[in-house]
């Protein structure tokens, strides 16, 4: 009867498990190496909301990176003689109170907003991620110290903390603002990572790797971190949006970027007082800002769905 159960495997005895239930149609020939990420990518590209949000971010990103691509006007060529002129063909967004072209302002204003958000976010991802990883992986006193540190920072309400720090630092440029956002926000990511590291460090495959003799660094970076990274990525996307908005809010509170630096935040906070008279002065930068924040959040959402094994 054994001839019946063995399905012609080279070794004999053990049957080859044929094409499993989850294999793609046998296209023959080449193996496509699909991973969770590849799957997620495919699903994301099919999601119209994600695609629109992504395109929007690409547009904003290119404004930040290559403003010249979008406008040939010099945003600093101003004249108080044409203060607050309504949108026209020549000035599609009109002019601001100093008579500068508002459209080119908006284009050039993308950079500080995006740079701050991107720098602060990469900071918290790297630093927060690392501390979270260490705390979660080693536990014990390492965890105690890092956790207390996180408690201290987290117990400071975010905006209050930012105000205190920025008034103290005083040099309010994109670096310091990014630094403060980073300094106040890293614990959240650290906490997320710590949580997912703690829950994944006892997973069977980590033990399996340990059992073949893998060292701590290998366990951490090869096995634990890649699996903890999905929630972090989702959070990071949302945080990017939050930081874009935070920059504007700090500027409104008078501790954000200062003239002559131009960001959407400064545009909004300078012109918010005119929103009854000349609403477009508020609407254009606000629209860009809200669009960016919205796009980041929606991208984060879509990413979460795509990476969530429950949905596959």
């Amino acid at each position: 009867m054994s001839d019946l159960t063995s399905a012609g495997s080279a070794v004999g005895g053990a049957p080859v498990g044929g094409d499993g239930p989850t294999t793609e149609p046998s296209a023959g020939g080449k193996e496509r190496s699909t991973s969770l990420w590849a799957d997620a990518r495919r699903q994301l590209l099919r999601d119209p909301i994600f695609v629109i949000a992504f395109l929007y971010i690409v547009v904003v990103g290119s404004m930040a990176a290559f403003p010249k691509l979008w406008t040939s006007q010099d945003p600093r060529a101003c004249s108080t003689d044409r203060s607050r002129v309504s949108p026209s063909w020549e000035h599609p967004f009109g002019t601001d109170i100093l008579g500068c072209d508002y459209y080119s302002h908006a284009i050039y204003g993308a950079r500080p907003s995006m740079v701050i958000a991107v720098m602060a976010t990469s900071g918290i991802v790297i630093f927060g991620g690392l501390l979270g990883l260490l705390a979660g992986y080693y536990g014990g006193w390492v965890d105690t110290i890092i956790s207390r540190l996180m408690d201290i920072v987290l117990s400071l309400p975010f905006l209050l903390g930012a105000i205190v720090f920025l008034t103290v630092i005083k040099r309010q440029n994109i670096w310091t603002i990014a630094l403060v956002l980073f300094a106040l926000a890293w614990p959240t990511i650290a906490r997320i990572i710590r949580g997912s590291v703690i829950s994944s460090k006892d997973l069977d495959y980590v033990h399996a790797a340990k059992a073949v003799g893998a060292r701590n660094s290998r366990l951490m970076f090869r096995h634990i971190l890649p699996n903890a990274i999905a929630p972090m990525l989702v959070y990071a996307t949302i945080v990017l949006g939050a930081f874009v908005a935070a920059e504007a809010t700090l500027t409104f509170l008078g501790v954000g970027l200062q003239a002559p630096a131009q960001s959407w935040g400064t545009m909004i906070s300078v012109h918010q007082v005119y929103f009854l008279e000349d609403p477009w002065l508020l609407l254009f930068p606000c629209g860009l800002l809200v669009g960016t924040v919205l796009s980041f959040i929606l991208m984060g959402d879509a990413l979460r769905d795509a990476l969530d094994p429950k949905f596959r």
Partner: protein, 336 residues
């Protein structure tokens, strides 16, 4: 005794229960494994059975070095692993590999099959030279009956049985002598389970492996094991050859366990001598005094509470059994 490849002496694992923040105070311990003596001979399969929570996995984890014993010694090929340096321990660990219970969680979902099986080579670079690793991985895949072309696939593209084969291939990568299987088939369907069991047996025959095979399915253990140890609350309460345990069980717990296994034969219905135990397994944090089984035992007497029965051969049995009143009773073929 040169053919003993693995031996434990009084192996103990207690998980402390603590309270306090700065000054941790221990107020008790989960006695997960409490003084286990085992020997594993070359080429043999030692089955370990017992109810959930009795310490089987903890024992296994100590054997492969995932858990440090609280006390006791572990000898691998005569070397006391608790006395050697860290590096040697790491090398010694190569000799014992682990196959885990759940094929769905024991493989890293973000690594390809090739990476998973090849990982041991990266950890121990001296085993296979760099250039030959891929070929070796494919060889292993072939050995466990998977298509070597699937080396770049991810675990989720395989079924449970196939995943378990990947786990076995990973365990085989470092050419170990001992493979520890912690419930390797519990998560699989019967039809698939048989495939894996057959594979394990085939590999043992071909490669001369020694197995420690943990399961709570007594039929599977009987099928594969040469000798069987029965655990209860962190202790081995009976140990012997497969025939001795199944045909001539002497410990009341073993007897109850065996009698509770349903036999897939309706003709035997109502004819078997079923012993239905009452009550639950006591907490390992607070085990009963004396004999740990006495709270559920129908034979229990005063002595059982006072004196812990040793795992020795007694008058009415031919193999070691930790019961003061060890006595053979045929439960499987009871009334045939």
């Amino acid at each position: 005794m040169s053919d003993v490849v693995l031996e434990t002496r009084d192996l103990v694992k207690h998980f402390p229960l603590t309270r306090g923040i700065v000054f941790k105070k221990q107020y008790g311990a989960v006695q997960a494994v409490d003084g286990v003596n085992l020997q594993l001979r070359r080429g043999e399969t030692l089955g370990i059975v017992g109810e959930s929570g009795c310490g089987k996995s903890t024992l296994a984890r100590m054997l492969v070095g995932l858990e440090t014993p609280t006390s006791g010694d572990l000898f691998v090929q005569g070397r006391n692993m608790s006395k050697v340096g860290a590096e040697e321990r790491r090398r010694g660990r190569r000799n014992i590999q682990l196959v885990m219970q759940d094929p769905y969680t024991s493989l890293n979902p973000r690594m390809t099959v090739g990476d998973i099986i090849g990982e041991p080579f990266e950890v121990h670079p001296d085993v296979v030279p760099k250039g030959k690793r891929r070929a070796k991985v494919q060889e292993l895949l072939d050995l466990v009956g998977l298509n070597p072309d699937h080396i770049n696939r991810y675990p989720h593209q395989f079924s449970g049985g196939q995943r378990q084969r990947i786990g076995i291939a990973r365990a085989l990568a470092l050419n170990p002598e001992i493979i520890l299987c912690d419930e390797p088939v519990s998560a699989l369907d019967v039809s698939i389970q048989a495939q894996v069991i057959n594979l394990l047996e085939k590999l043992q025959a071909e490669l001369g492996l020694s197995y420690i095979f943990i399961a709570h399915d007594l039929s599977v253990v009987r099928h594969i094991a040469d000798r069987v140890a029965v655990m209860y609350l962190g202790k081995i309460i009976e140990i012997g050859t497969e025939d001795e345990i199944y045909d001539k069980p002497t410990h009341p717990y073993t007897q109850a366990l065996l009698s509770a296994v349903p036999v897939p034969d309706p003709k035997l219905r109502g004819q078997r001598d079923q012993i239905v135990l009452t009550g639950d397994v006591p907490s390992p944090a607070n085990p009963p005094s004396g004999c740990r089984f006495r709270t559920r035992c129908w034979k229990a007497q005063d002595i059982c509470a006072e004196q812990e029965p040793l795992l020795v051969v007694r008058d009415k049995s031919d193999h070691p059994s930790a019961c003061h009143f060890a006595e053979v009773r045929d439960v499987v073929h009871a009334t045939e």
